[in-house]
Point group: C2
Chain length 412, copies 2
C-alpha cells in the first residue's frame, strides 16, 4: 500500500563510526518477531532529542527527559509492541528498570541510557520478557545493523524506513544515517513516533540541539496521517565525533550549514517515508501554503486541509472535489481571510492547474484536467493566501478503507 516507498537496500545504509546496533526477539506482544533494539554509542557521543507534547506522555519519554540533561548518553533501547503509555507509576518503574538492566550489561550508569517504546497504549509493559531479551540484543551489536534495526522498530509500518547521506567537511567524510517508524497516530508535535539520526561529525552540543529542533520543525513536525499526536513521539540525533573533523560550533559557518542541511534532508526523507507508509495510504499529498502573514497561519491552513476527512476521502477517490479544500481553508481559523484574493492550485509532478480564484472556480479550470492530475499518486495542493511572504509545507496521505480496516483490527 505504501506510496512510492521501497524497502531500503541494506548496502545503501552506511554504518556510522561510533554506533553499533543489535536486535532481539523478546516476545513483547507476539512471538517470532524482532521487537527489541539496542543502540550503543561510543564514549564522547553527543545526543539531542525532542519529544511529544502530549500531556499523557509515555513513561519512556518521561525517563528520556530525565536522563538527557545529564549528558554522556551511551545507549538507546527501543521496544515495539507496547508503548508503556497510560501505565502510571508502574510504567515509570518498568522504564527505569529497563535502563538499569541495560546499563548493568554495558557497565555504564542507568542515566546514560535513553528508553523508547511504541505499540499499544494503556497496557502493562511485559517487563520480564523485555529484560530477558536485552542480553541477546547486546550480543547482536554490530555497526552494519541499521537495516535490521529499522525493521525491529516497526509496528503497523509495512516497510522499514532508513536512509544515509554523506558529506565532506574539512576534508573528512561525514556519514549521516537515520531510521524512523510510524504509520498511524501520526501528527507529531515536536517529533515523530520514533526517529533516530546518527552522524560521526564532531559538533558542539548546543549547536546539535539547535540543528535538531530546526530539522524536526520542517520534517517530523510537518507531517500528519490522522491528526492524532502520539504519546510516544521521540526524535533523537546523535553525533559521535569520530569523523575526525574539527568540532563545529559556529552556527553561521559553512560547515554548520552543510551539516544542518544534511540532517534536515535525512529527517525530511524519513518523515515523508512515514506518510508514504501511512495506514491505508494510496496518495502522497504535499500541502504547500504561501503568501501567509506568518508561518503559524500557513501551518494552520495546511493542517486544516491535511486533516479534513472529506479532503482525504476525495483524494482517495481521485475525485477533484475541490470545494472541500476551500471549505477547509475557510474554517482554518484565519478570521480576516479574504477569500476573494486567495488562489488554489492542484498539481502532480507533471502539471499544475489553477482551480480557484476570486472566491470561486477559476475561469480556466476544466474538471477533466483536475481528474487527470488526481490519477497520479503524488499530488500537490498549493494555496496562495495573498496576505504576506510566509510559507509552510505539510505532507499527508489520503483516507481509505485501509485506514479504517487497520485501526478497527489493530488489537485483534
Amino acid at each position: 500500500m505504501a506510496v512510492n516507498l521501497k524497502t531500503p537496500n541494506p548496502a545503501d545504509l552506511l554504518p556510522v563510526p561510533g554506533v553499533r546496533l543489535g536486535v532481539a526477539q523478546a516476545g513483547i506482544r507476539k512471538a517470532g518477531r524482532y521487537d527489541l533494539t539496542v543502540i550503543e554509542l561510543a564514549p564522547g557521543s553527543r545526543v539531542a532529542g525532542v519529544f511529544t507534547q502530549n500531556r499523557f506522555c509515555a513513561a519512556p519519554v518521561a525517563v528520556c527527559r530525565e536522563h538527557l540533561p545529564h549528558g554522556s548518553i551511551r545507549a538507546l533501547v527501543i521496544n515495539t509492541g507496547n508503548a508503556n503509555a497510560g501505565t502510571g507509576g508502574q510504567g515509570l518503574d518498568d522504564s527505569r528498570a529497563t535502563c538499569g538492566a541495560l546499563a548493568e550489561i554495558l557497565a555504564i550508569d542507568a542515566r546514560q541510557v535513553l528508553p523508547f517504546s511504541t505499540g499499544v497504549i494503556h497496557e502493562p509493559l511485559p517487563i520480564g520478557r523485555l529484560l530477558a531479551g536485552l542480553p541477546h540484543a547486546v550480543a547482536d551489536l554490530r555497526a552494519d545493523s541499521w537495516f535490521s534495526a529499522a525493521h525491529a522498530i516497526m509496528t503497523t509500518d509495512t516497510l522499514a524506513k532508513a536512509v544515509s547521506e554523506q558529506i565532506v567537511i574539512g576534508g573528512k567524510t561525514i556519514t549521516v544515517t537515520g531510521m524512523s517508524k510510524g504509520a498511524g497516530m501520526i501528527r507529531p508535535n515536536m517529533a515523530t513516533m520514533l526517529g533516530f539520526i546518527a552522524c560521526d561529525a564532531a559538533v558542539g552540543q548546543t549547536l546539535l540541539e539547535t540543528m535538531t529542533l530546526e530539522a524536526a520543525d520542517v520534517s517530523f513536525n510537518s507531517i500528519t496521517v490522522d491528526g492524532d499526536t502520539s504519546t510516544n513521539d521521540s526524535f533523537v540525533t546523535i553525533a559521535t565525533g569520530q569523523a575526525g573533523n574539527t568540532e563545529i560550533i559556529d552556527a553561521a559557518s559553512d560547515e554548520a550549514r552543510l551539516l544542518a542541511r544534511t540532517l534536515t534532508s535525512v529527517a525530511i526523507r524519513l518523515a515523508q517515508s512515514i506518510v508514504r507508509d501511512g495506514e491505508g495510504a494510496t496518495k502522497f499529498m504535499s500541502i504547500e501554503i504561501e503568501g501567509g502573514a506568518n508561518r503559524e497561519e500557513c501551518r494552520r491552513v495546511a493542517y486544516a486541509i491535511a486533516h479534513s476527512p472529506l479532503v482525504k476521502t476525495a483524494f482517495f477517490a481521485s475525485d477533484p472535489n475541490l470545494g472541500r479544500i476551500l471549505a477547509a481553508i475557510g474554517y482554518a481559523g484565519i478570521d480576516d481571510l479574504n477569500v476573494e484574493r486567495l488562489r488554489v492550485w492542484l498539481g502532480n509532478p507533471e502539471e499544475e492547474t489553477l482551480v480557484a480564484e476570486h472566491g470561486g472556480r477559476a475561469a480556466g479550470y476544466a474538471e477533466e484536467t483536475g481528474a487527470r492530475i488526481m490519477k497520479q499518486a503524488e499530488l500537490t495542493v498549493r494555496v496562495d493566501l495573498a496576505r504576506g511572504q510566509a510559507k509552510a509545507t505539510v505532507w499527508t496521505c489520503d483516507l481509505s478503507y485501509g485506514y479504517v480496516k487497520i485501526n478497527a483490527d489493530y488489537r485483534s
Copy 2:
C-alpha cells in the same frame, strides 16, 4: 445505518400556526427528487438565525446575513443538490435572484426572503432550473407539510429529521416543530448544516435571538461527525406569535424559561439526529467532560476525543482500545493537565465502568467489561478532569468503512 433513529411519523409533526411549507422537484442535481422547499411565514413572525463561521461561507449565508437585520422575514427558500459555495460573485447574484423571484410570486420584498443551499461545493448553481421550480413549491404550500419538507432538504442523510413538542404558556398551547438535515461535513460552528425550528409563541425579538444562541450552543454547536465545518451551516428559529399568549419579553420569567427549554430540547433532538445519521455511523457516542476549569477546555477535550480517527475506528470495531482516548485527552492542548488526577469512564445505557485513573489503567477495570459495554450502539465516554466545576457534552459517531465509501463516491 442510522443509530437508533427512525423516520418521523407524519402525524407526530404538528403544524405551527402561521407557517406553511411547499416542496418541488426542480432537478437541481438529479431529476425526480424533491430538492426545493419554500417556507412561508405569516406577517408579524419573528426570525432569528446563526450561521457558519467558515470564512468561505456560501452565497446564501452571506445573503441571509444581509436580509435578517431588516426584520419582517416572510419566506425561506431551501435548495439541495448544490451548496452555492465557493462560487464567487456569480453565486451571490444567483442567491439574490432566487430571493427576488420568490418575492415576486409572494408579492413581498426580496429582503423579506432568506435563502439556503446545501450540496456540492464549488459548482455553479443551476439557477434556471431553480427559478422554474419556485412556482411549483409555492403552489404546494400547506401547514401540514413538515414531513415532506424534512425529506426535501436531505442530501446524504438516510432519514428525515423532524420533531414536535407542545407546551402551555398562559393557558395557550404553544407548538414547536423543527427539522434539520446533515450527515457529513458536520462540525458546526454557530449552527448545523441546516436547522429550522418554528413555534407560534409571541416572544420578543431580542429574547428570541438570545434563546437561539443558547439553544445552538448546546445542540448544533455540540456535535461533530468528521470535524469539517461546512460553508453553509445555518440554524433559524421562527416565532409566528399566533398562539395568542401575552408576548414574552422577560428572560427571567417562567414563561421564557419554559419556551427556551423547549426550543433547546427540540434543537438537541434535531442535532443528535444528525449524528445518529452521520455518514457511515454505527455507534452514537456522548463525550461528557466534567471537572474542567472552564467550559472551553471541557469542549476542547471533548472534541479532541470526538475527532480522533483512532478513537472513532476503535468504537467502530467495538474494541475498548482506551489508550487512544487517553492519547486524545493528552493532546487536547491543556498544558497544565495533571494526568495523575483525571479519571475516565466508559458506559452504555445499562452500565458504566472506571477505565483509567492515577495516570494508568484503573485497578478494577476488566477488559471483558469494556468489551461488553462497547457492544451496544449507544456509548458514553465520561472524563473527570479534576480541575474545577465546568462541564460540556459533545455528541459524535464512529468512523467506519461506510464513511469512506460515501465520501469517496459522493459526486459519482
